[in-house]
Symmetry: C2
Subunit: 330 residues, 2 copies
């Protein structure tokens, strides 16, 4: 997007409202998504994930700021709020971010709260990202809390996944077990001025060797991409980059690694493949949702409540209840 085409404040407001329609799954939102979809597919989608306390949000802010300072690319940030699935939670992020970035027309920021239903969030996040993509943002940073299934969902939604760690969180153990390193295209050790940085870095590189040889079925070692040389071979080896988000240390390397990964995806045809997988995934998500909605629209409330009463009193199993209630003759 050229600077002359940057969304004005008015457009940003319109975009914000459209996003709310998509979040609430209104018919206006659905129509907007259908209409903008052919214009989407140009943005570079970047997932940023990591445990709470790793300084992920500051890193995302700083990254957006420095990408903008380079001047060519526009940036949208979608922050999936780490609110508890049980209590909801306050969204403070936006206001804090706004101070640093809101003056810039080339940056758009949106927080989305996780409302407990993970499937719903994945569905609407995909939609919001498509809107921002169609609106012409070059880079879309999707920030989520590093917690199990959500990383997997990012890996499916994003082209490039950045996993953020920081010293002294016991992350070495966490990381291996949760398989989080396996989804990382780029590893960032943030708060690199903290004590323990060497240990964290060493643990990450060691795990990375393990995870990497696993991922490529033992085919390759560490000969591929390295942070220092910037050399590429057929396999992508995730670089480990040390950053200090409160300064600018490490960010030029991070921005370069993001661009390198994008090039790698292009060259190898993986970009097209990931796009197809993403779309297939979104299709299946929507299919499930729609089939349930359609079933609910035609189901007899009386029959459902009779059958469920039999389930609650353990006279019949949930499976047999489903079988009766989905029988075609209904």
């Amino acid at each position: 997007m050229k600077s002359s085409e940057l969304p004005s404040a008015v457009n940003k407001l319109a975009l914000s409202r459209l996003i709310s329609e998509v979040e609430n799954e209104t018919s206006a939102g659905k129509t907007a998504l259908d209409e903008c979809f052919p214009r989407s597919g140009k943005a570079h989608l970047i997932g940023v994930t990591g445990a709470p306390g790793t300084g992920k949000s500051s890193l995302v802010n700083r990254l957006a700021q420095l990408i903008r300072r380079q001047g060519e690319q526009t940036v949208a940030i979608v922050a999936i709020d780490p609110s508890s699935p049980f209590t909801g939670g306050a969204i403070l992020g936006d206001r804090v971010r706004m101070r640093d970035l809101s003056g810039d027309p080339g940056v758009f920021i949106r927080s989305m709260a996780s409302r407990g239903e993970l499937g719903g969030l994945a569905r609407t996040t995909a939609g919001v990202v498509q809107l921002l993509d169609a609106a012409g943002y070059d880079l879309i940073l999707i920030e989520t809390v590093g917690a199990g299934q959500s990383e997997v969902d990012i890996a499916r939604l994003a082209h490039t996944t950045i996993v953020v760690e920081s010293p002294g969180m016991g992350d070495d153990i966490q990381a291996i077990k949760a398989g989080i390193l396996e989804i990382a295209d780029i590893l960032v050790v943030n708060k690199a001025d903290r004590p323990g940085i060497e240990n964290t870095e060493r643990a990450l590189r060691a795990n990375l060797d393990l995870g990497y040889s696993h991922r490529v079925n033992g085919k390759a070692g560490h000969g591929g991409y390295t942070e220092e040389k910037g050399v590429e071979s057929e396999d992508w080896v995730p670089p480990v980059i040390k950053t200090i988000a409160t300064e600018e240390s490490g960010f030029p390397e991070l921005i370069k690694a993001i661009a390198d990964h994008r090039d790698y995806l292009h060259k190898t045809g993986l970009l097209a493949q990931r796009e197809r997988e993403r779309l297939m995934d979104e299709f299946e998500h929507l299919l499930r949702h729609t089939l349930v909605q359609n079933w609910k629209a035609q189901a007899s409330t009386e029959q459902v409540s009779q059958v469920m009463d039999a389930v609650f009193s353990r006279k019949r199993s949930p499976a047999s209840a489903v079988e009766e209630l989905t029988r075609p003759s209904n």
Copy 2:
């Protein structure tokens, strides 16, 4: 279950085979579930969750051993294996556990691997737990890795949820943010002989105060159940219990807290309410799954692939594709 009714080795084998049928969702497995369902609903379902490295598995083993030593109750363990969603993973747990517990006819142990599809795992775990319940096990310990959504799923599956932490993992921060404390009915600080135990315990109690006042809408303080007094009021305040799984330290207190929580659920009517929610949840899960299967069975492969090609080339949106492919006239 009286000792005279304990499953014999032969019955255990039959049960193992039946569980495999349920895991593979065969028709034999479905029939077995339908038939055993009316006999289920008696077991106390206990979820045990915590980050890798907290010694969760040792704790579960020791707990089963000591419950058995008290002699009255039989125990089944369902361990959801912490394999990565991307690579699968080895199941070593069973063999290690077997050494300690397999001689006892009142203990049944089953590992289940997470095969990447979280919905599928939740579905089959519910079924396996029902089988074990119908088979007459008094306590069913469901052990999972503490990682985001999976805790939430346990909270829905279990009557009593135990969250395990250990010193020096930075868990204080992790816990608050991920909302894990909000699902805890009982908090265990394992490895209580490790340095840092005081900090971990203090952080947990502080967070618990926060989380608790949140949970009950600020109605109550810490006047309810406390570890020391064993007093109950209307609200349940999760006790914090220090254990050392390599010894037996803390386990009598833990076993008592489990029994107390069961009593609390009974007395307040929450047990019946949780049962209904669990069954409703299972019904909805199965409904989604069945509707998709039925749709696939009747869908025209040719039409689907035409529509999906249009999606892949961004001529039409995934949502409009779903709309066409689920239109009743199809």
